[in-house]
Amino acid sequence: MKQVGCTPYARETQEMKDIYDGPILEIDVLSISFFTRLREIPAVMDFSVKVMPGEAVGLVGESGCGKSTVALGVMQDLGKNGRITGGTIKFKGRDLGQMSVEELRKIRGSEIAMIYQEPMASLNPAMKIGKQLMEVPMIHQGASEKEAYDRALQVVTDVKLPDPKRILDAYPHQLSGGQQQRIVIAMALMSEPALLILDEPTTALDVTVEASIVDLVKDLGRKYGTSMLFISHNLGLVLETCDRLCVMYSGEAVERGSIADVFDEMQHPYTQALFRSIPLPGADKNSRPLVAIPGNFPLPHERPPGCNFGPRCDYFEAGRCDQGTIRMRPVKGNDRHETRCLRFEEIDWNAPLAAAITKDKGMIGDVVLKMEDLKKYYEVSANALFGKSGETKVVKANETLSFEARESETLAIVGESGCGKSTFAKVLMGLETATAGQILLDNRNIESTPIERRDTKTIADVQMVFQNPFDTLNPSMTVGRQIIRALEIFGIGKTEADRRERMLQLLDLVKLPRAFADRMPRQLSGGQKQRVGIARAFAGDARIVVADEPVSALDVSVQAAVTDLLMEIQREKKTTLLFISHDLSIVRYLSDRVMVMYLGHVVELGTTDQVFSPPYHPYTEALLSAVPIADTRVKKKHIVLEGDIPSAMNPPPGCPFQTRCRWKSQVPGKLCETEVPPVRRMADGHQIKCHLSDAKFAEMEPVIEIAAE
């Protein structure tokens, strides 16, 4: 690698970087609080972690557990209201809290760098990429413009961006989300920092893009010998990237240790509950349902005495777990494995799950919804800002969609951004009308009936649950009022009192206390809001419910509860559930059949077993490999897709997936680039849209294998 810095200062820091060989980062009994006018809100308490050179440490927890606050504490950037109230953060043996502003400035960006969640927001929109990158060595190594440019060019090449010179000359908005995140990574690596903090670096990205970014981070970390603090809510991602991890709950570290110890010999009830609430391969909605963590996350100023997790813990012992402060204690026999549980030595961690009630599988009934060759094209002007005249482009949001859905069946629709799943939902709901093809609801055509012209029954029959819990309820109307309004519209109940009674029953159905009827949405947690959304959708006894990523914005422990609720209502009401998701783990867990979409095309359709085992469509294969699975026993085939998802405005010719397909070379001639593949009928009801020959399909190996226990 080329050496850039040659000024005395640069050499000096370079030397300093080489000499030190203790722990890179050492956080000791750290406490951080935020101060509001009313009270002090402790965000992090008694937190310790140690990051050794070259080590990657994961910080896992649900939203609000304080993991991002730790990162900002390390950067000493807590804002006006935040303050470190106890403990120390040592970087290479020096206390960051004691440093002057100037010393901190020298360390930031050169020795500690950070990568953030929102790549678009963390790049300056009015500054060229090159300038933003070159700034780093120019500040820290006093490099000249030429040196800085060369260095930037090299790092951009390192993060595998095509055409680095053009990229350096671009503005952030001209790049895709994945490319932007690569630039943020490049920026962090400009001066080869000793410590890299990654705060949910892939949350805003699509799964396949996420996989390639994770791959890149791992490679570069190894190449530059950087230590990493990896903050995530996703246990699977941590398993793939880190050597050690620290699980946080409500401002405290509850368990700490190596990946193997924590994943396979967990010693804290919260960690255990967390693992039981995520859909791992092998979980099944009927025979092995997920176990949701009961209760809610405590608010920072309403933490219980004693163990924070106590009120939600299965092993809670009154008089012991709710007394005094509980310290981290080492687990004997394991390397640096510690837990914050009084009873961990008494608990039988290998006891099987307390007899989960096996539920009967709902009988799948008749076809209620049928799509035939549904097409939806949009006309958009080529120039979005100033264009009204000029040429228009046709965006093919949905291309020949055909499937049927039966009573009590869960059909999952899987795909990443731009695949057309939202458009499909809009057409089904009647917010848009189809360009061609037909939608049959009980053998009646509804594809060209917009919602204003649908009768109340049809509208009440097809309802939707939305993705973002914070957006799904009208913030200025009480919960009860919103449900009653739906009842009014669907013409249910003769009097106001009838409807109120029915509304209370719906709250019972979604397992919310009746008192919630008079609450405003802002007083509810995300999961509770989502339950209200479900209650509202079922107000008119909907027979088909489109659930658009209903749990993806929720914390894992809440996800399980909401998912189970949906399944239970489905079983009871024999609802047809169209479950739109990008999360294959949850899809495998709850769906009967799966439809995989890519850029408006259905590339694969079949029962869950058929889709999750070979033969795959090449895209399904990549998707399966990209999804992180939080299970050490799972062996995955490593497939990383090149590049980003093409824009739906400008799709590639021929097969939509041909630009990223790893099997493309296996198809003779230029078939993939010129012709849209035919729909191939594989086994019973299993169809794949691909040019590959049967022989090639037969060669495919399973992506996910569970090692024998």
Partner: protein, 397 residues
Amino acid sequence: MEPLSWADILGRIFVQFTPVWIALVVVFAASIWFKRNLGLYGKLFDSTIGMIGFALVMFWVFTGIFGAMDMVVTHDALNQISVMKNKAPGTPVMGAGEDVYPYYLLGGDNLARDVFSRMVKGAWVVVQIAPLATLFAFMVGITLGLPAGFYGGRLDTLLSFLANLILAFPVILLFYLLVTPEIIATGIPNYMATCLFVFPLIFVAILLNSRYHTQPALRTPLLIGVLGVLGWLYLSLISEVGSKVQVIPGFLDLFDVPGGILVVFVSVVFVNSPTVFRIVRGLTMDIKTRDYVAAAQTRGEGPWYIMLWEILPNARGPLIVDFCLRIGYTTILLGTLGFFGLGLPPESPDWGTTINDGRRLLSIYLHPAIVPALSLLSLVLGLNLLADGLREESLKD
């Protein structure tokens, strides 16, 4: 009698304002006591800036109200005592009888009227017209801005073009063209009033209908009742005996608005509505992408229900803030009209007219112009501070 010293003047003014102080103390004590239950209004009392602004605004509101009840004033605002012409503040009234206040606290103007009393009476003009005109402007802006933002397309293009048309019109020119006796004689302001003031009716009708159309038994009587009352008020407002628009007989006419005031009112509403339109349109375009709007659509709600019950309540924060700012702006506009002697009668005690009267002799006698100038300044400042406080507090959660 000796002229009063400045301390005496201030002391006496303080005493004159006694009812205002009492009212202010009551309002503040009650508000602070119950502030946790009063929503955004209550939160205002957590912000110093907001409280100062609120105090200034309420001071003038109470002054206006009590002034209209002849409580704060010392003299009749139109009464001339010829010896008092251009006299300095604190001058005793020569040869006054027992029942006349013995001093011109803030001096006399060049027509020998009491500056203090005119200032207090002037507050009433502003407190009456400015909030009401702003409210009408909001009705017009909201009724047109919601569909423009919600539907977009041609409707939006047309309405936005019209709004920009009015915005590109220099305000002062518009006033000079509209607010002249000749134009009033043609009845154009009355026709404009007929158009503009119908918007609140449309607004309320759609609001109620979209909400209750599923229950005709409740909806129909409610609409008839509410629209009946509003319609009567509307007709009384626009209809005027002897003007071009006389639609109902005089005995049904509840109240009369003088032509001059009406035209001022209309022009101010007309000038303000396009800006409100643009704000509402922008907010609507933002909020209509939310999931709860989609949820309303997927359960088959009509567009007006979505606009008025799903979108509008959630746009209220910025709108309330803008409402305060806009009352201030309207106050300034009213002053501008008075300053150019447009619309309001020349003896009107409103601040703009008084400043205009006073400025002619400004280099010799300061007080006739300075007093209303500072009053207007403090009221508008109060409204601005109030808006700032509200904005800050509404952003906090």
